[in-house]
């Protein structure tokens, strides 16, 4: 796409200076404190992030009963795991999980913007926000998945979830083979944000 448009050479330096100028003026005028933006960023480093989703997935892999409860009532099942306050906070007020299986592969998308379950996955990666993924993912999900390195045959059903109202979706990927010896923490370390949106599989060596 980049070659279609002309960009100024100082594109990034200008944006960096502009956002700093904007933040400085807003601080001066009392709209923000100089500790406000840092408070937001800190939340996404310590409280909300894909590390939560990975723990949820690992627990679902370890405990089929937990997985059943998670699919039935996602917020309630998340509450069982003693996360810090905030798992039903901003952009996680109404979350739902779906689970990949031998017969179904799920893909989460937001064709209108970038709706994403913040508390359990943090902030969306670039590919999720890019208009090309949002355009193509709903019409040719398998073609898009193959570009991500995931092959899904037409024998397997693909379910695409377009998040245009209030529900924020995430995927419980399939547990990889040869992970019986791993504990919950080790399993969680294998789970990526991409796997929890359906554009990656989890592998035992990732």
């Amino acid at each position: 796409m980049t070659s279609l448009f002309h960009y100024d050479d100082d594109r990034e330096a200008n944006s960096a200076a502009k956002v700093r100028a904007l933040e400085a003026l807003l601080i001066k005028k009392g709209v923000l404190g100089n500790d406000s933006v840092d408070a937001v960023l800190n939340h996404f480093e310590t409280v909300a992030g894909p590390f939560n989703g990975a723990r949820i997935v690992a627990r679902a892999w370890m405990d089929p009963e937990y997985k059943r409860r998670l699919l039935e009532d996602t917020p309630k099942a998340i509450k069982e795991l003693n996360f810090p306050v905030g798992m039903d906070g901003a952009e996680g007020e109404h979350m739902k999980a779906v689970a990949n299986s031998e017969s179904v592969h799920h893909l989460v998308i937001c064709t209108l913007c970038s709706c994403y379950p913040w508390p359990v996955l943090g902030l969306p990666p670039y590919w999720y926000k890019d208009p090309v993924f949002r355009s193509r993912g709903v019409r040719e999900p398998r073609a898009v998945l193959s570009e991500f390195g995931v092959s899904v045959s037409t024998d397997k059903e693909v379910k695409v979830w377009d998040s245009s109202a209030q529900i924020r979706w995430f995927v419980i990927p399939e547990r990889p083979a040869n992970t019986e010896h791993l504990n919950e923490e080790q399993l969680a370390a294998l789970v990526t944000p991409e796997a929890m949106m359906g554009v990656a599989l989890v592998s035992a060596n990732s």
Binding site: S15, R20, L22, G33, A39, G89, E93, L123, F148
Partner: protein
């Protein structure tokens, strides 16, 4: 008609971008943070389900700023510009313009200070902490702004009903993905209670609390057999205004 409402299904765009970074450049974190603080101190939160001390917050910000504000701005862009600029570049353009339009910041002072930071990129921000606002930011992130509302009126549709997506008049802002207009689907789930979107979208149809349905669409019913992949179902959560009965 806005391209931004019709992204789903657009052809000839080439390969997807596989970049896994949340932020391309460090500066993008700051505009994300500014937007989120604006949501946390938005005037509309005085009616939120969690009790927020919005009216007593020590801030000069007296506006309503929600996702609807940011989205409406993005949907108002020239469609080529929408493709040209990255996600957070669009945010920086939209949010700066909002503060200029609302009189918080003058365009000239923003330009002047931008030039200053171009020349002095390491110069620190003014040292003016706001502990009460910081607390509110954390509270907002922890407790959110649920749009769940009671609605006495029963839902018009039930699980298993065949329905059609409405084709409402075009508006500045919509939560109806364009590719679903006039398409046939089946109600998979009727969500409990109702949801109220941040704003009215006028002739588009969002206004007050509405039931929300999860509707399942066979991909071939949307794109046609030739242009779709087999064995594929698309689910969309749609507000009641966007649904009409099959007959």
């Amino acid at each position: 008609m806005k391209l931004q409402h019709y992204l789903g299904g657009l052809e000839n765009l080439g390969p997807v971008n596989l970049d896994k970074r949340v932020f391309f450049a460090d500066w993008e974190k700051r505009i994300f943070g500014i937007h989120t603080v604006m949501m946390a101190e938005s005037a509309h939160l005085n009616k939120a389900l969690p009790q927020y001390p919005i009216n007593s917050l020590p801030t000069s910000f007296k506006e309503t700023w929600t996702w609807a504000s940011l989205r409406t701005g993005a949907e108002d862009m020239h469609p080529f510009e929408y493709f040209k600029f990255r996600y957070y570049e669009r945010w920086l353009m939209g949010i700066s313009q909002f503060f200029i339009d609302r009189g918080y910041v003058a365009a000239e002072e923003l330009d002047k200070l931008t030039q200053h930071y171009r020349a002095n990129p390491t110069e620190p921000l003014p040292n003016k902490p706001n502990p009460q606002l910081k607390e509110q930011v954390v509270r907002y992130l922890e407790h959110g702004d649920s749009s769940l509302r009671a609605l006495a009126k029963p839902a018009r549709f039930k699980e298993g009903d065949t329905v059609y997506v409405a084709d409402p008049e075009a508006a500045d802002h919509s939560r109806l993905p364009g590719f679903l207009r006039n398409k046939k689907g089946v109600v998979k789930e009727v969500y409990p209670a109702a949801f109220e979107y941040f704003v009215s979208t006028g002739p588009d149809g969002l206004e007050g609390p509405q039931h929300v349905y999860c509707i399942a669409f066979d991909a071939a019913d949307i794109w046609g057999k030739e242009k779709s992949e087999p064995n594929t179902v698309i689910y969309a959560d749609l507000f009641d205004a966007y649904i009409k009965p099959a007959h």
